[in-house]
Amino acid sequence: MEKTFYTITKKDLFDLFSRLSKEYRIFVPYKKGEGLYFGEFNAEKEDEIELGAIRQAQPFKSFISVSRENVLEPAEKRSGPVIVAGVKSCDLQSMVLQDHVFLEGDFKDPFYAKKREDTIIISHDCTTAKETCFCMAMAGMPFPQKDFDMNLSPVDGHILVEIGSEKGRAMVGGYKTFFKSADSRDMKARDELRAKVSEEVSGFISKRGTPKTTELWGVVKKNYDNIPFWQDFSSTCVECGACNLGCPTCHCFLLYDSKGKDIPRRMKAWDSCLYNTFARVAGDHNPRKHLYERLRNRIDKKLDYFPHVMNYFACTGCGRCIEACPGDIDIREIMKGLMKGAWNKPPND
């Protein structure tokens, strides 16, 4: 049995990326202002690369279920070998749902399937937490435990590498000189960092009183007909769809046709269930005419539909929607409200 743990220095990791960039398109997170944004690996900008910290502004799903693509072109033409480094646990957790939607059932999405197959995931522990982080309430942890090809954890001056798949193992095998054996001190340092960050996330969760998934079973149904509750939360919604676009579990898309240089194109583009047209059909029938119905639909899909169909709460606690919302709609507050029961009434009324 081959070893599952190695170490690598940061310098060697970047040298490895430089070498691999001949075969792969490599994406890494760059620090820009307060946020982290994925961009193509550039050895000259190494100083700006931040593999750790927290999740990036863009959800990882955007590498697999791309935001807009022509689905009349062959899937092969729309893909190629890619490495994404620095992926966080909350984003990995979302891929369980994305895979369920796009790879299961009677039909596979060939575009998604090809990208998924072509993409190597190098994940990374979170090294800090943000006030909007609540992964641990949503059955996650701030460090990847599965579904990666290789995971990185920073330990005393170098990086501990955990191999998570055959793809990851092959990568180490091909570049043996970069990797050294890991020892118990490395493991200990990793555990300490993980405990520290977990404590930070737990602190944010308990301070706000964010409910856990285990407490959220059935609460949407209970409050479904409580219209003032949903109206209250939707009153500041401007239907921009930012919550959907940043959300790692949102998967809905729009198909629309256009002509590109006289060749018909069918574009598949991310869509937002907050838009008035989302469920509208010909003849001006719309099952969700009101904004509160559309906001309710979003929450219902995440906290009732997916738990119902795949025993999975479709929120990973990444907090992107909270930061993105210009109306300050906070999903944690919606969850708390759902727990409380009837809105605008004392809990025991």
Binding site: P110, Y224, F253, L255, I263, K268, P287
Partner: protein
């Protein structure tokens, strides 16, 4: 057959004929360039290449392999453009999607069909499927409601349906009549009476505009049908057709893959089903 390699792409189909059914409804007879079968009640997406697509349930006999009929009302961007298309022009087709009418369950029963307006289109496919093995069904009763005599679709063939079997009967009502109209005047619900149906061994299939489906459903439940015996077409915003794009969700279902036909018991407690 569905393109399993790329479910978003379509095959070409030539318009063999365009039949004007009413001022707003036309039937397009299409000949697909590859074999594309369906079962009555399933739907397909008709594409105007480079322009757009929309879902329709074929209205022809599913045993006929040479062509597919789509009876389409002008109701939006794609359907308006389709109405401008002529014989010989080419459209795209993908599908079939969803579940068809469960003919196995219908066999040996009294089949009570209620249609409204262009909602007769999928019911025509169902009727033809029933007529293929007409003796396997105890009774086939059609009640059809149209806004006015000129809005009745399949005018030239409706009367011939009676001759398809001794067990077949039908009645048409118009919301408003005219000088030529000899039949009942009133909403379709006004002809849902004096029925000789064995409720213990019957099913009802309803398709039409949402408001009509709502009142017909209530009426036939009053007549003694159980929720599980009522089959409704829930044609929501079915875009991808394969349960992925999220637009047509109703409660725990996607209309495109779990429907578009649902028994009433499955959907009656879900929100906004009649909108």
């Amino acid at each position: 057959m569905i393109n399993m390699k790329n479910p978003y792409s379509y095959i070409e189909a030539e318009i063999l004929d365009v039949i004007e059914e009413s001022p707003t409804i036309k039937t397009f007879r299409l000949k697909p360039k590859a074999d594309i079968g369906f079962r009555a009640g399933q739907f397909m997406d008709v594409t105007i290449p480079g322009v757009g697509e929309a879902p329709f349930t074929p209205s022809s006999n599913h045993d006929v392999k040479e062509y597919l009929d789509f009876t389409i009302m002008k109701a939006g961007r794609v359907t308006n453009l389709l109405h401008g298309m002529k014989k010989g022009e080419v459209v795209g087709l993908r599908g079939p999607y969803g579940k068809g009418y469960p003919l196995d369950i219908f066999k040996g029963k009294d089949i009570f069909i209620v249609g409204g307006g262009v909602g007769l289109a999928p019911l025509r496919a169902l009727l033809y499927a029933l007529f293929n093995e007409v003796d396997d069904y105890n009774k086939i009763i059609l009640k059809y409601g149209s806004r006015s005599p000129k809005d009745i679709i399949y005018k030239s063939e409706i009367d011939t349906w009676r001759d398809r079997g001794k067990n077949v009967s039908l009645e048409v009502s118009c919301d408003t009549g005219d000088d030529t109209w000899k039949g009942n005047v009133g909403l379709v619900t006004t002809i849902l009476k004096d029925l000789d149906i064995n409720m213990a061994n019957a099913v009802s299939i309803v398709c039409g505009p949402p408001i009509m489906m709502k009142f017909v459903t209530f009426k036939i439940l009053d007549l003694g049908f159980k929720d599980t015996q009522v089959y409704l077409s829930m044609e929501k915003n079915m875009s991808c057709g394969i349960g992925k794009c999220g637009h047509c969700r109703i409660g725990p279902y996607y209309a495109c893959k779990d429907g578009p036909v649902f028994t009433y018991d499955k959907i009656k407690d879900l929100p906004n089903i009649w909108d």
